[in-house]
Symmetry: C2
Subunit: 116 residues, 2 copies
Amino acid sequence: MEIIDAVNALAALAQNHRLAVFRLLVASGPDGLSAGDIANRLGLAPNTLTFHLDRLRHAALVTVQRDGRSMIYAARFDAMKDLLGFLTDDCCGGRPEICEITRPARRRSRKAKTCG
Amino acid sequence: MEIIDAVNALAALAQNHRLAVFRLLVASGPDGLSAGDIANRLGLAPNTLTFHLDRLRHAALVTVQRDGRSMIYAARFDAMKDLLGFLTDDCCGGRPEICEITRPARRRSRKAKTCG
DNA sequence: TCCATAGTTCAACGAATATAGAAGTATGGT
DNA sequence: ACCATACTTCTATATTCGTTGAACTATGGA
């Protein structure tokens, strides 16, 4: 991942509505949601939502797919993973004992693969 | 972490110079770097750099400390960790078998706490 | 074909952003 | 006290961003 891609992804997420949309899609899993569902849940005007979904799409953070009259949007988990990895690249360069960043918080047991 | 905090942090990182600064600080570890060092390495004008460092500081992503005439900036690893966690909260809600996001790639062994 | 539904595109506007130049503040050395 | 160094603050400006209202496209049903 190049820095320009990371900046685009971060800029796409750096807005309250877009971040809410993306998190909603992340929580919804690979099946995604229709634009209408997203608009209803977040209380956004359809054209405003299109604007934000476009930004997420151009940043490669979501995919779209038509289903009848609906457009189904879904989070791109691979892109998300790339971004998180990029942010922590070369962390503490050479002093790994300091860096605990990518350890994703509450891992309560090996069986409970929490996603958070 | 509230969504507003996440948006602020993401917005702070969503700019090529700021992302470069932050990654440089992340790679430099807890000792940080002086503003002058950062400016030299990244080729930024001092006032421009101050502007960007301010944004990172207000987003709680870096700390500052005076050392003689120099200002020493360092990454806040705790804030970074919080942000990454927030992005993946409730991931795939209820279907953890799908979600591999927060698994930070190469974890070669439990002893080698790689930072990437 | 006619119409409703589901989204998208376009134009306009106020607000926020990034940068540069100039001036200002604080520390250290002589 | 004087000066240089190291940053910061102030002012101005061009650019980008987010929202709205209106018009437009595409699909599905009667």
